[in-house]
Amino acid sequence: MTPGPLLLFAAAGLTAGLVAGRRHAPAWLGFTLAGAVAALVAAAQLLLGGAPWEWRSEFAVAGQPLHLRLDALGALFLALVAVVGGAGSVYAHGYWSDRDYPQSAPRGRLWWNTLLLSLGAVLLSWNGLHFLIAWELFTVAAFFLITLENQRRDVRAAGWLYLAASHLGTMCLFAFFAALAARTGSWELGPMRERADLAPLFWLALVGFGLKAGMFPLHIWLPSAHANAPSHVSAIMSGVTIKLGIYGLLRTAGWLPVPAAAPWTLIVLGAVTALLGIAFALAQSDVKRLLAYCSVENIGIILIGLGGALLAAADGSTSLTAGAAWGRLALAGALLHVWNHGLFKSLLFFGAGSVLHATGTREMSRLGGLWRAMPWTASLFALGAVAISGLPPLNGFVSEWLVYLGLFDAVTSRSPAAWAALPAAIMLGVTGALALATFVKAGSLIFLGAPRTAAARDAHECSPWMRGPMVAVAAACGAIALAPALCWPLIARAAGAWQPGWADLTPPASLFTLGGMQVALALLAFAAGFALWRRARADDVTRQLTWDCGYVVPTARMQYTSDSFAGIAGGWFAWILQPQRRLRRPRGLFPEGASRMERVPETVLERLIGPVAAVVMQASLAVRRLQHGRLQYYIAYVVVGLAGLGTLVVLGGGS
């Protein structure tokens, strides 16, 4: 089957799910899964070398004829939508079931399918107006998904912030597409590299798409929205929808000429986003907020790769010269990281959701020791933690390795690009080490040690509906990790759709070696773990209390907490984290109570946007005083207004 009928089938499946979702959950799940599988197959056809699929119709929507097109680059993102969308649907069936949430579950299914459909529409539209409509639809659908639990105040606040910030982005995109249409005379999209006058429009796109992607400092909406949404929604938002911002940037940079400063800006923004994103993540004590900030970091890594690709493309020609080769590696790394992050981030959010479901809290310092009750979730979360820290032998390492290799090649080629690549590589290294600290902290506080509260002690393993998608996504992570060379042609085709000269399908020789090393490492790690376990079991194992400096009755409260773990590295970023501490010291000979509270604010939001918003609100309040409902004053306003206009006419009438 060609992609056309498959995509039609996918759309039909999702629409049927949309209709069925109101009453019948199993039917919804069946239809949605069928649609997701169809979309995945369509995307796979293109990534495996199928010709781009195109469909034009005279049928006009909003006055514009329909123009749908799917090429390898769109297919790369469509595959991610299908995989995470499908996995999320199964997860939602267990996590947000009709039994637990009789009111919001049907609503959630409705908006979930709307979200998937509009995400697909964004990836298929090659008309600026339709792109905008689909974009707005997916923004709104995501808003209703975030606010499924709208009886909670912080959920409403998060949804509101998301909606306001997203519309600022949409406004920029509206200006971008409208200006583009005004200058080219058509809403049709497509390559127009020769129109040098379109270059400045890139900045509008950067703000609009960058805001959706969660680029620093436009990320303000992201942590609260992703933390407060139901976990399957967090997974698709962190894993997929922020990637659509990357998709938009890729398309813009691929179709339009970019200003000379744009690649440099992207690399710098990417490096800053990565470093500060992970610094904020490390300081969080709410596991879902931590994961959300970590998404900001990963967007930074992708942006570094993208900026490097643009720099190389501007540097060399479109052909595979030495100058461009490193850019191709960086782009391949960025594109592969889009997949990788989508996969392990949804795995981690699913895991966090299971923990939330089992214990009712997202505060890591209230959890602990969950591995005993939730062995599946614990081991899958640990796998995701290793993957997201970019460690071998998992998939995060492969994509980061490609980005690194691109940057290192830029450095050794001694091109001017090295001045961006050098600091970016060092910052990437620091980011990696901080990510490791972040995920050692997250994993160990939640799953290891002793339970810190009764809720953590009484936890239970999640249902198979929730476990299944986690296993599936983890398996996908493992597949990419162990066979990176097989993924290369898919990525290369997407890169070729972006920059025609870059579609070299033979993987770099070192990628084969790396794949072999990853397999060997994974096998040896298993073998060594098993051997040591056997050896330790061979003699008698004595179980004892943890040795706490000879202390006989250690309690769970003596364990390290989130803030104490992050204290050292967090202190280096205190200038931006601005942690607020409340300390009550023990006083007197018989101290009654002492406490130390620490909170990391949303610095950009509270220190930068907050004051500005406060001024605007003040001004609005002042203006509002004019309106008070007293008729005589209104008549006076009219008279004064008329008099003013009259004066203007009389004075200006002479000319």
């Binding site: 591995w371 460690l391 290294g429 020789a509």
Partner: protein, 302 residues
């Protein structure tokens, strides 16, 4: 067949020679302190004894407590096997293998810290937090040092990167890498491997609850890591590529011995730093590597 034999020889070399280094360091410390000290082979005896012993596990730990040291040991050994040995070259060399080496060490760190957190002990949490935090700065220094070598040699694979004659920045690089070696291997002035006060330790406090074979794996892994860093330091600084094979092997061995004795001397003559000073020293190491990078950059342009 030859390749296989060479691989086995390399593996056995790393496994057998590594525990020698802590013994030499201890001997140097004893000698400076005017004591007789433990025998040079003490760690071998310790490892053999620990391997025979039973295990005491905390009631809280999961299987990850034992898997952690095992995976960390594999990771460190894998990193060591990636390192070319002067004249013999690397067993397996590919573009970007240096990144795999750095990240394998990071994997070992992840596993050690994870295993430490298994116990739920405040002390081990403290050690893990310190380990992963200070590693951030060490990582910056080591990436910068690698970049300096890349720029100097124009290559991104270890075998060619460590081959050419050292540039003008060799001294800077040596100082920077030596500081990283001390930090990554938890030696004075960053950490004191001999102390018995949990509050002041990094690495040793992370392994307080380990015993028996897992502890043996940790100690052996740590000694491989020390040998790895010492070899890397020597190869980065001394131009082994120009020498004949026996001479290069001799120089490499002598270099590693000098570094080991140097660690012993530092440990005898310096006191451990206060913890708030540690970042300062690591930042200095980073800056030294950064200057080496700039020198390499300038040197190539001329």
């Amino acid at each position: 067949m030859i390749v296989f034999l060479e691989f086995v020889a390399r593996l056995v070399g790393w496994l057998v020679l590594a525990p020698l280094l802590p013994g030499i360091i201890n001997k140097v410390k004893a000698w400076v302190g005017g004591r007789r000290g433990p025998p040079v082979l003490q760690l071998y005896y310790d490892l053999a004894r620990l391997w025979q012993k039973g295990v005491v596990l905390s009631t809280l730990v999961s299987p990850g407590f034992i898997a952690g040291p095992a995976v960390a040991w594999v990771a460190v050994l894998g990193a060591a096997l990636l390192l070319p040995l002067g004249p013999v070259g690397a067993g397996l060399s590919f573009r970007g293998d240096v990144l795999l080496l750095i990240y394998l060490l990071a994997l070992a760190r992840f596993c050690t810290a994870w295993a430490a957190m298994e116990t739920g002990s405040a002390f081990e949490g403290m050690g893990a937090a310190r380990e992963v935090s200070y590693a951030v700065l060490a990582e910056a220094a080591i990436i910068t040092a690698v970049l300096a070598l890349c720029v100097h040699s124009g290559s991104v694979s270890l075998a060619t990167m460590l081959n050419p004659a050292a540039g003008a920045g060799a001294v800077l690089l040596a100082a920077g890498l030596f500081a990283v070696l001390l930090a990554e291997n938890c030696r004075v002035p960053f950490d004191d491997p001999n102390t018995h006060l949990e509050l002041t330790m990094i690495h040793e406090v992370m392994i307080l609850d380990h015993s028996g074979p897992p502890l043996a794996a940790i100690l052996h892994g740590a000694s491989i890591k020390l040998l790895l860093f010492a070899t890397l330091l020597v190869e980065a600084v001394v131009p082994l590529g120009g020498l004949s094979r026996p001479a290069a092997a001799g120089v490499l061995a002598a270099g590693v011995l000098v570094v080991t004795v140097g660690v012993g001397l530092v440990e005898s003559l310096l006191a451990r730093l206060a913890f708030r000073r540690v970042p300062l020293l690591l930042t200095t190491a980073f800056l030294l590597c950064l200057f080496a990078l700039l020198v390499a950059w300038k040197g190539g342009a001329a």
